[in-house]
């Protein structure tokens, strides 16, 4: 804890990511699969790219 909590650095970023995750889950039920699919594939690719960096 020298002597900094994670709050000061990551909490808001995590909260924002979580809030968007919830909204995505909510609207994904109503977006037609044919439209949602390419967007999700692109997201997955970019996520993998980000994780590799």
């Amino acid at each position: 804890m020298n002597e900094t909590t994670d709050d000061a650095w990551f909490r808001l970023t995590d909260e924002c990511a979580e809030a968007s995750r919830q909204v995505i889950a909510l609207i994904l039920k109503d977006v037609p699969p044919a439209e949602a699919w390419p967007v999700l594939i692109r997201y997955r690719t970019e996520l993998e790219h980000l994780e590799r960096r």
Binding site: E3, A8, W9, I24, D30, V31, A36, V39, R42, Y43
Partner: protein, 638 residues
């Protein structure tokens, strides 16, 4: 893309670009300090927009989905850059870097406190201030002022008090704690952390309580003003019981086990109990000396069947139900059960009957016994837990209440009709209790307790330790209270010195000038009544001008509006009870941004005038009635 989402995406984009810039500043030797300052501001904006996302209706379109996924990617990437910056800063000891490491980028610099430990803090305090950090608590070896620090204290216990004293926007996060010199031990850091966490829990609970009870406290407080003025306050008892043993008779289930023995202590100690324990006392044929009550609900059912002219005195919180305040008693003393929150009541009487409440009647009783310098302080029926699922001792009106399982949750069932009726005020009835286990009285096993009981127990442990109190826990069951000697009541009775308590005589010795007190209260009420009328007139004027201001173009109206707004703010500042009564509504509007969402912000301002008008309608007649009740003619007729 829908509008709230596009605003959010722009805010997130700013955060991402500045996070990249911060990491690049480290790599390429750029101006990290300036970039972090801009990044913090970007995060402040993101905070406002994120908090509004949950309540928005986002249409399920491909564009919105793409925007949300891109937002998630931005946040993940920003987090990566923040981690790089954090790691780099933590390797550097310069106060400039330490301040950046400490504040991070997401910290709410206006609201959440930073706690610094040690004597060498002035440079870091200055750096934190330069970054916009407002609440800075320094815990040093001596209480010498440090420029820029909000407060300087000398012990972890005082840090707790300092966090509790953060008024206005209440802190929500665990404060960041930094050890600033080598003399500060790891134990002190751990203890301070624990104290800060307790204070934050207490703040949260206090805020929830104010949201629920604020308006009730004010209404009942006003209705009680004539009674309060006619009776002495507990600060007059400050020297009445010094050195006398005090027995705090709580209402836990273990009280059934040893209440019969308490009769042996009548006249040998100060017997303090709570209204809820009266049934158990009656069942055992025990007449307590002082009966304490402070909750604002209608507690009259606690007193059913008890002749309240037998106990030596009732000690009642100022905002208690007016029906309880008007029950016949041998003697009555009032006090500020909600501590400084009740200062508006006693402001005009020049008295200071504050009690460090700790959140419950049990903790208030302990605080009173400590302030009276009673010794030793003996607990009975202080289970602070639910041994065997039981809630109260036999004879208490709610003694059928038990913890039971319902749909996988622990709930308390079997409340009396009196409790069910009063629970409607606070909405507590039937809600689930989250249980946790703590050490039991014997120190050999565990006992289930609730978050609240656990918090009260820790509060007691803290004050017993801090004030070096001689305390005996003679509950013979329930939770262990560290700092107490755990002995049976029989052993305690044998150990107690033989003294003549003469409680009635001590209470009669209190000097109280009723006529002077009532005269002061009358002038206090006249001032309050004048203020509330003025606030009402200004709120009506502001509402009229508010409507005249729209559509844009009415410059004269806007100027008049600004002037009237300043006036109403000035008068409301003198009426803290008005804010207290409306706290729950005001909380909903916290964080509105006049730049991002001017319509919402405007509507919030207009709604505030409406709140003032409603408060004037609710409390104005009560103030007039209280003043009328205090007039000499009315008193003579009564």
């Amino acid at each position: 893309m829908c509008e709230p989402l596009s605003v959010l995406c722009l805010a997130a984009q700013d955060v991402l670009l500045l996070s990249r810039a911060a990491a690049a500043a480290i790599r390429d030797g750029g101006d990290l300090k300036a970039t972090l300052a801009r990044l913090r501001t970007a995060y402040d904006r993101l905070r406002l927009t994120t908090s509004r996302l949950g309540g928005q209706d986002i249409p399920p379109t491909r564009d919105n989905l793409a925007a949300l996924l891109s937002l998630r990617l931005s946040m993940l990437e920003a987090r990566k850059h923040a981690a790089i910056v954090r790691r780099w800063l933590e390797r550097h000891d310069d106060p400039d870097f330490v301040a950046d490491a400490l504040l991070g980028v997401c910290w709410e610099r206006r609201r959440d406190p930073v706690v610094l430990l040690g004597d060498d803090t002035s440079d870091l305090v200055a750096q934190l201030r330069a970054r916009g950090q407002e609440r800075i608590i320094v815990c040093a070896s001596q209480a010498t002022a440090v420029e820029g620090a909000t407060v300087v204290v000398t012990s972890p216990f005082e840090v707790r008090a300092a966090v509790l004293c953060c008024s206005g926007d209440q802190p929500a996060r665990a404060a960041t704690i930094k050890r600033c010199d080598d003399a500060v031990t790891k134990e002190t850091v751990i203890e301070t952390n624990r104290m800060v966490q307790e204070a934050l829990d207490g703040q949260r609970m206090c805020a929830n309580t104010i949201d629920v009870f604020g308006a009730v406290w004010i209404k009942q407080g006003i209705e009680n003003l004539p009674i309060i003025a006619a009776h002495p306050t507990i600060d007059l008892l400050r020297d009445s019981f010094a050195g006398l043993p005090a027995v705090i008779i709580a209402s836990g289930p273990s009280l059934t086990r040893n209440i019969d023995q308490l009769k042996a202590l009548k006249g040998r100690a100060l017997l303090i109990t709570f209204s809820h324990s009266l049934g158990a006392c009656r069942r055992a044929g025990l007449v307590p000396d002082l009966v304490l009550a402070l909750d604002p609900e209608d507690l009259r059912y606690h007193y059913d069947g008890t002749d309240m002219t037998q106990p030596e005195a009732s000690l009642l919180g100022a905002t208690i139900h007016p029906g309880v305040m008007r029950l016949p008693t041998k003697r009555l003393f009032t006090f500020a059960a909600n501590n400084t929150i009740d200062s508006w009541i006693y402001h005009g009487l020049d008295v200071n009957p504050m009690v460090a409440t700790g959140g419950s009647v049990a903790t208030s009783a302990l605080a009173l016994a400590i302030s009276w310098r009673c010794s030793p302080i003996v607990f009975v029926g202080q289970d602070l837990s639910y041994p065997g699922g039981e809630v109260y001792a036999k004879g208490i009106s709610d003694d059928q209440a038990r913890i039971v399982k319902r749909d996988g949750h622990d709930v308390i069932e079997g409340w009396s009709a009196g409790y069910a009726a009063m629970a409607t005020v606070g909405g507590q009835g039937g809600s689930a209790v989250v249980l946790r286990e703590v050490d039991d009285w014997h120190g050999t096993g565990k006992v289930p307790t609730s978050f609240q009981f656990d918090m009260y127990r820790r509060w007691m442990e803290n004050v017993i330790k801090q004030f070096k109190i001689t305390a005996w826990n003679c509950t013979e069951g329930g939770a262990r209270i560290d700092g107490c000697e755990h002995i049976t009541l029989e052993a305690a009775i044998a150990k107690l010195p033989t003294v003549d308590a003469r409680v009635g005589e001590r209470l009669d010795a209190v000097a109280f000038d009723r006529a002077a007190s009532e005269a002061k209260m009358r002038s206090h009420l006249r001032v309050m009544s004048g203020q509330i009328q003025q606030a009402g007139e200004l709120a009506r004027q502001c509402t009229r001008l508010f409507h005249a201001c729209t559509p844009a173009g009415a410059r004269g109206a806007r100027r008049a509006m600004r002037k009237a707004s300043r006036k109403i703010q000035a008068i409301v500042d003198q009426m803290p009870y008005l804010v207290l009564a409306n706290q729950a509504h005001l909380h909903q509007r916290t964080g509105l941004d006049p730049i991002e969402t001017p319509d919402e912000w405007n509507a919030g301002a207009s709604a505030n005038y409406q709140l003032v008008l409603e408060s004037v309608a609710a409390f104005g007649p009560l103030l007039d009635a209280a003043l009328e009740e205090l007039t000499p003619a009315h008193r003579r007729a009564a």
